[in-house]
């Protein structure tokens, strides 16, 4: 099995949970596939292929009404959870055929992140297990470099090592002291998101300075990686 085929079967973090805010639609990309992420007013997070089944318009430019997502082009409604089309304004008196529904991706919330899986049979039990009693998520950093290069550089130049048996997508700092964990989201052949967490709770008084320090360190690594990739 090729790396690409293998990767399709894996779960990847694509956003911090708290950044999937109400009445908003998040556009993301994983392994070259775009996804639209949105939270309904009851808290359920949907992860759908980022195109309307009707004419292919990105759902991420659509409207999150709290219970459905409305496509910006023809105003079609897609229900939360099922992705079923529930209303077609051009034919307001007719019930939309059952076959009209969005393509849904496997979606789970774990360790403060939304994880998605592009495979046909996503198994939420297969979300990578991290040995964490508590955690604090950090700012995600977009990087203009392919995931292999990002991982290689973090391991060889920045003292990270694989944190799980799941390969180089989840890394942690080597050596003693407080660990940092980085989780890589391969967007496409050129771009990677570096998500981060520390395995402890941070006191409110320290939170901003911890977030800023972590972001500063990851941004420096990002800049070095981008220089190497350019």
């Amino acid at each position: 099995m090729s790396d690409a085929e293998e990767a399709i079967r894996l779960w990847f973090p694509v956003s911090r949970c708290e950044e999937i805010v109400p009445r908003n639609v998040v556009q993301t990309e994983l392994l070259g596939q775009e996804a639209a992420l949105w939270r309904d007013d009851l808290g359920f997070v949907n992860a759908w292929e980022n195109r309307c089944p009707h004419r292919g318009v990105r759902l991420s430019i659509g409207l999150n009404t709290g219970s459905e997502l409305r496509c910006q082009y023809h105003g079609w409604w897609y229900a939360s959870i099922t992705g079923q089309c529930t209303y077609i304004p051009a034919h307001p008196g007719q019930k939309p055929p059952n076959v009209i529904k969005t393509k849904r991706y496997g979606c789970a919330e774990q360790y403060g992140f939304i994880w998605i899986n592009l495979g046909d049979q996503p198994d939420a039990a297969a979300v990578p297990v991290l040995q964490l009693d508590s955690y604090t998520t950090m700012r995600s950093v977009f990087t203009q470099a392919p995931v292999d290069l990002v991982a290689q550089s973090l391991i060889e130049a920045h003292n990270f090592e694989p944190a799980t048996s799941a390969g180089n997508y989840i890394l942690e700092t080597t050596g003693p002291g407080e660990k940092s964990v980085l989780l890589l989201q391969p967007m496409n052949a050129e771009q990677t998101v570096i998500h981060g967490l520390i395995p402890s709770l941070v006191r409110d008084a320290d939170r901003l300075s911890v977030l800023r320090q972590f972001n500063g360190r990851v941004s420096e690594m990002r800049d070095a990686i981008e220089r190497a990739a350019a």
């Binding site: 009445r23 908003n24 009404t65 977009f142």
Partner: protein, 215 residues
């Protein structure tokens, strides 16, 4: 009534329509055939603005050019709340001036990329796009930490300012110049918040937002 020398597709004209709409200031639009007619370079218009640029306002004979300058004027003259441009707060004024400068940089990069792709201006497109991405990266980091501090807006305040209005249009129109906003989630959340300011209006290329959840 204020006269606005206007072009429908200009983000810099739109930001003035947006602020006047939010403040409830009536205005008259004088449409300039910017494209393809280049009326902003015509002799009659050069007498109004020798730089040959839009927008320009004429407020009962007081003529002012430059989108950011006009935002300052409109907020000072027509916003009784003083919140859009807090004239007595030195730090806020400093921050606003900084972001108004950033708005001009966004125009020089993201808007230039759009003019290249859409209207065939002869610009270095790679340089325009790289410049826009560099600015959006700074903007995204700034807005992310603002959210962490409990602030929704550019200038660390509880209320939006003219800085938000100044930066919003060409951020929203960036994809017409091939500058994706996918890598800037905090920017995307901020643009949704701008769209929910009471009195918000759209322009071609910018869609509205769904209503906010009732509190």
């Amino acid at each position: 009534m204020i006269k606005l020398y206007d072009f429908e597709l200009s983000g810099n004209c739109y930001k003035l329509r947006l602020l006047m709409g939010i403040l409830g200031v009536p205005f008259e639009r004088i449409a300039i055939d910017f494209y393809p007619g280049r009326e902003h370079k015509s002799p009659w218009f050069l007498k109004i603005n020798p730089l040959g640029q839009l927008p320009v306002i004429d407020d009962h004979g007081f003529i002012l050019r430059d989108a950011q300058a006009i935002l300052v004027y409109l907020a000072c003259a027509y916003d009784p709340s003083g919140l859009w441009y807090p004239r007595d707060d030195a730090r806020m004024l400093g921050r606003i001036a900084m972001w108004l400068g950033c708005a001009d940089s966004i125009t020089a990069t993201a808007s230039a990329a759009r003019l290249h792709d859409s209207l065939f201006y002869d610009f270095d497109i790679d340089k325009c796009r790289a410049g826009a991405h560099a600015l959006f990266r700074v903007l995204d980091e700034h807005l992310w930490f603002a959210e962490q501090e409990g602030n929704d807006w550019l200038c660390s305040s509880k209320h939006p300012t003219i800085a938000d209005i100044a930066c919003f249009p060409y951020v929203m129109l960036s994809e017409e110049g091939g500058v994706s906003r996918l890598p800037y989630p905090a920017v995307r959340r901020w643009t949704d918040r701008v769209k929910r300011i009471p009195g918000f209006m759209v322009m071609p290329g910018i869609f509205g937002a769904s209503p906010a959840a009732s509190e």
